[in-house]
């Protein structure tokens, strides 16, 4: 029965989530040593370090600390940052939109550019253009995104500015003062989004090409041509439409990447998203934040998988019985 299936899957997911939290928690706290994050240890006496550690509850036995924390998580409280005391969930939800702006824009850019590129490759199959596109595609997945980002900054932020051309800002998502307008945000978004979209375009354009090729070989396309339909209409109305669906599925598989896919790009462009939040706080030993971020990401991944599983189960009864 569907309900049983769903219940079982949910239980398993929750179990996995607990596994994730236990592994992450143990890793962070077991290797922590005697640090108190957020305190400058070189000017603090050991007595004060010990006292503050006690005040923060960091000297409690590990399993007690874990139980306290997990008890909070169940109520939606992911604890507080050890650096600034701010609620972890608040930090995450305040920076998540920035990451989503970046990744969604990159994906949209990816889709918009992949479709025509893939189509051209399929239509002009075997031509020089097609071969060039294929080469660019392989290059695209082989380029390190951080290198690409650096080169873009050197060209568009430094060189263009030296030459008096319109230049693009290299860091952040808006100007330090007076920023926030749509124009300002787009200016800041262009480079990181393009850098991120590069890999997507490389993969998806190839995929579009191969799925279009498959479609173009179908009987109904041949029929349409035989009936005298114009080639352009054949392509646009039939081939294209049917090739898009596989692409959507592929994009769907990328959804977890909405949250975690931009970490490197965020770092290169100092984009204030949650990927960079993780790195910053990992360097500052802010355990609760790192723990919270990992758990949050895991919840999203597991929820996504669960959703997909349930969807399949609804569509395909055989799955429920397995």
């Amino acid at each position: 029965m569907l309900a049983l299936f769903v219940a079982r899957r949910i239980l398993v997911s929750i179990g996995i989530l607990f596994g994730v939290t236990i592994i992450t928690f143990s890793l962070l706290h077991a290797t922590a040593g005697s640090l108190v994050p957020g305190l400058d240890l070189s000017t603090t006496l050991p007595e004060d370090v010990a006292r503050i550690r006690h005040n923060l509850g960091l000297d409690l036995p590990l399993h007690i600390q874990y139980l306290n924390w997990i008890g909070g998580v169940v109520h939606g409280d992911f604890g507080r940052s050890l650096i600034d005391g701010g609620p972890v969930l608040e930090h995450i939800t305040s920076r998540l939109p920035d990451t989503l702006q970046l990744t969604v824009t990159a994906m949209v850019l990816g889709i918009v550019i992949s479709l025509p590129l893939g189509a051209i490759g399929a239509i002009r199959r075997g031509s020089v253009l097609d071969q060039l596109l294929t080469l660019l595609s392989v290059l695209g997945v082989s380029v390190p995104s951080f290198w690409l980002g650096l080169l873009m900054i050197m060209l568009f932020s430094v060189t263009f500015n030296s030459w008096g051309l319109p230049w693009l800002p290299s860091s952040g998502n808006q100007n330090a003062i007076g920023g926030g307008s749509i124009e300002d945000r787009i200016e800041h978004l262009i480079m990181p989004a393009t850098c991120l979209a590069f890999t997507y375009i490389a993969i998806w354009s190839r995929f579009t090409r191969s799925s279009m090729l498959e479609v173009l070989n179908q009987d109904y396309i041949r029929t349409a041509r035989a009936k005298g339909m114009r080639e352009s209409r054949v392509i646009l109305v039939h081939a294209f439409r049917n090739a898009v669906f596989p692409l959507i599925t592929l994009v769907g598989l990328e959804l977890p990447g909405l949250v975690s896919g931009a970490v490197i790009v965020e770092i290169v462009f100092s984009w204030p998203g949650i990927g960079r939040l993780l790195l910053e706080r990992a360097f500052q030993d802010d355990y609760t934040m790192v723990l919270g971020l990992t758990t949050f990401a895991a919840i999203l991944v597991l929820a996504g998988n669960l959703f997909a599983d349930i969807l399949y189960a609804i569509l395909d009864p055989r799955v429920r019985l397995s």
Partner: protein, 311 residues
């Protein structure tokens, strides 16, 4: 094509033919792929270069990768004695790039080998034995796969160094290989288990069991050869990706750290100096690009030649 050394029972329907013929055929197919062969040579060349790095230092450039010379910092390309220039401490870029290949390729191959070993073993065991063991192993895989890879990598590398008994995991090449391998074996395990499940259901296995072969024997003699092609293909496709991941980790300061020169941490340094020298930024990145490109093309060629699922 020659039949494999099949058990005495007749060959039932759907038994995969994976004898030596399969491999010979695969290699023949690979050899017929010009791109594959070309870039395989490139990879081989890089590997040789990596191995020969100390010799290059001693006999060709006469410079160590960490040797500083403050009288010639930010030397441009073609500076006397420094073909590709020098960096912010006067270290020779050419020498450092060559030594950097040791890490990139070394970590690449080691990591792939490790995660294939771990993932393959887990997948085989989970697939063959099934039951509670299989379930638990697959849940473990699910747990690891629940955390986005880059998050997991940042998480683990930020708490280094850690010491587990005699094992010291720090920011050096071997440790980073282990860390990346530990975060990457999940996908392989799932793949291998799926393959095992599909093969297991075929009758030749039941036949083999019926004549009394033990679990390990079946796994090693019969399952493994049939699963090996998938494992090899996955590994070859993954090499390029691993090189990129390792370089990215170096770039954010969590991978292999100075003084060991790697292409990634050379970029980490040079990003603070791009006003002084653009070649310090372009060259290491170019090396990464070439290595990953070669690995990807070879990986594709290997898949085209050997992937049983395409036959």
């Amino acid at each position: 094509m020659t039949a494999q050394s099949a058990p005495v029972a007749a060959r039932p329907l759907g038994e995969p033919i994976r004898g030596q013929g399969y491999w010979r055929q695969g290699f023949a197919r690979f050899r017929r792929n010009p791109l594959g062969v070309t870039f395989a040579t490139v990879v081989l060349f890089l590997a040789l270069l990596a191995l020969a790095a100390p010799l290059v230092s001693r006999y060709v450039t006469h410079i160590d990768p960490t040797q500083q010379d403050l009288t010639v910092i930010f030397g441009p390309l073609g500076t006397k004695g420094h073909l590709l220039g020098t960096d912010e401490l006067g270290r020779d870029v050419f020498t450092r790039l060559i030594w950097g290949s040791r890490v990139s390729l070394g970590v690449g191959f080691l990591t792939v080998t490790l995660y294939l070993l771990i993932g393959g073993t887990v997948g085989l065991v989970a697939g063959f034995y099934g039951g509670i063991v299989g379930e638990l192993l697959m849940r473990l895989v699910d747990t690891i796969l629940a955390i986005p890879v880059i998050f997991l990598l940042i998480l683990v590398t930020s708490v280094l160094p850690i010491h587990i008994g005699p094992l010291h995991i720090e920011h050096d090449a071997v440790s980073i290989s282990i860390v990346i391998a530990i975060t990457s074996w999940g996908g392989v395990a799932r793949l291998v288990r799926a393959e095992v499940l599909s093969i297991k259901s075929r009758e030749f296995i039941t036949a083999t069991r019926s004549i009394g072969a033990t679990g390990t024997r079946i796994i090693v003699r019969h399952l493994l050869p049939n699963v090996l092609p998938v494992i090899i293909v996955t590994g070859s496709l993954g090499l390029g990706q691993i090189i990129l991941v390792e370089a990215a980790l170096d770039f954010i300061g969590l991978g292999v750290r100075p003084p060991t020169p790697t292409w990634g941490n050379m970029l980490f340094n040079s990003q603070s100096y791009f006003y002084h020298s653009t070649s310090l930024v372009t060259l290491p990145g170019l090396c990464i690009l070439v290595a990953v490109l070669a690995a990807n093309i070879v990986g594709n060629a290997v898949r085209d030649a050997f992937d049983p699922r395409l036959r």
